[in-house]
């Protein structure tokens, strides 16, 4: 059952993404993107990230996607030739995408670190030997060696222990706690960043008033 649902969401997501990337009609692309976002939200739920799934729906579907559709409306005259996205260097894009996909696939499929096995207790268990695995390319990098170890250090104990307690409570409480404790500074910084970017966006998008209009505005006030 879990697997089936996962595959459903996965198919929705990937199919939507394909349509988004390949559709010649920008409106279809936008619509396909909606499905992708929805599928991703489902995948989040599958991965025990309920809070994020909701956020995904609210922000992406309710905000960003609407924004994108507004952009389409504002910049494109419906029915005109401009609505066609045209074909660029398909071959270049295709080769690049394929090559990257191959590399990524090789990276996680060939890596021991990403294998998950069923533990003795019947629970899913990730092989954690990857943290010291020499197969990870950046593992031996002079620059990242220490950083990698720091990042990957298990801070909250064994994930498996956590998960057993998780079931009913969800992640919202944990995330709320973390925002006000360890992630307080990033939280504040990101909120300021959001504010600044919104103000900046309004500034940029604002129509520059002409001199006459300024004069009129002044005379009115």
């Amino acid at each position: 059952m879990f697997d089936f649902i996962f595959y459903c969401f996965a198919i929705i997501t990937v199919a939507g993404a394909f349509v988004t990337a390949l559709s010649k009609n920008i409106v279809y692309a936008a619509f396909a993107l909606l499905f992708t976002f929805f599928g991703i939200a489902g995948l989040y739920v599958m991965a025990n990230a309920d809070f994020l799934a909701v956020t995904q729906l609210m922000i992406y579907v309710g905000g960003i996607l609407i924004l994108l559709i507004f952009g389409v409306m504002l910049t494109t005259r419906i029915g005109s030739v401009d609505i066609r996205v045209g074909s660029g260097s398909k071959w270049v894009a295709g080769i690049m995408a394929t090559a990257l996909f191959v590399i990524l696939s090789v990276a996680f499929l060939g890596s021991e670190a990403t294998h998950t096995e069923k533990g003795n207790d019947g629970k899913m268990k990730t092989v954690t030997s990857w943290a010291s695995s020499s197969t990870m390319p950046w593992k031996n990098s002079q620059w990242n060696k220490n950083a990698t170890e720091e990042v990957l250090k298990v801070k909250y104990g064994s994930p498996d222990e956590k998960k057993t307690n998780e079931g009913s409570s969800g992640t919202s409480a944990e995330i709320g706690k973390l925002f006000l404790t360890d992630f307080l500074l990033p939280f504040e910084v990101i909120s300021v960043l959001l504010l600044v970017s919104l103000i900046g966006a309004t500034m940029i998008a604002r129509k520059e008033p002409t001199l006459e209009e300024e004069a009129i505005a002044e005379s009115v006030s």
């Binding site: 894009a93 996680f108 990730t126």
Partner: protein, 102 residues
């Protein structure tokens, strides 16, 4: 084969690659932005996957939240820029916006 880390990573890879393809191939800035959103989501899927199956735990979800916030800001600013480009170039084709060459 049970659903594991690799499944999530695979979906993420597909989304990432499609996003890259979109950015390289599409001739509409909005579509390019959609590609960007795809890439961001691919990244988010990876964060969540590692949060679930990797050793990163819930801090992966925190990172995903930050990505979403940044994506929101990015979308707003990027669309504002797109509107300006459209105003100045009367086009949303990134291939025509090549004044950077000069």
């Amino acid at each position: 084969m049970t659903i594991g880390l690799n499944h999530f990573l695979f979906i993420g890879a597909v989304l990432f690659v499609l996003g890259i393809f979109s950015m390289l191939y599409r001739r509409n800035v909005i579509a390019v932005l959609m590609g960007v959103e795809l890439i961001l989501n691919a990244a988010n899927i990876n964060f969540i996957a590692f949060s679930r199956y990797g050793g990163v735990n819930i801090s992966g979800q925190m990172a995903a939240i930050f990505v979403i916030v940044v994506a929101a800001g990015e979308a707003a600013v990027a669309l504002a820029i797109v509107l300006n480009i459209y105003k100045n170039f009367k086009s949303v084709n990134p291939a025509e916006v090549d004044t950077l060459r000069d």
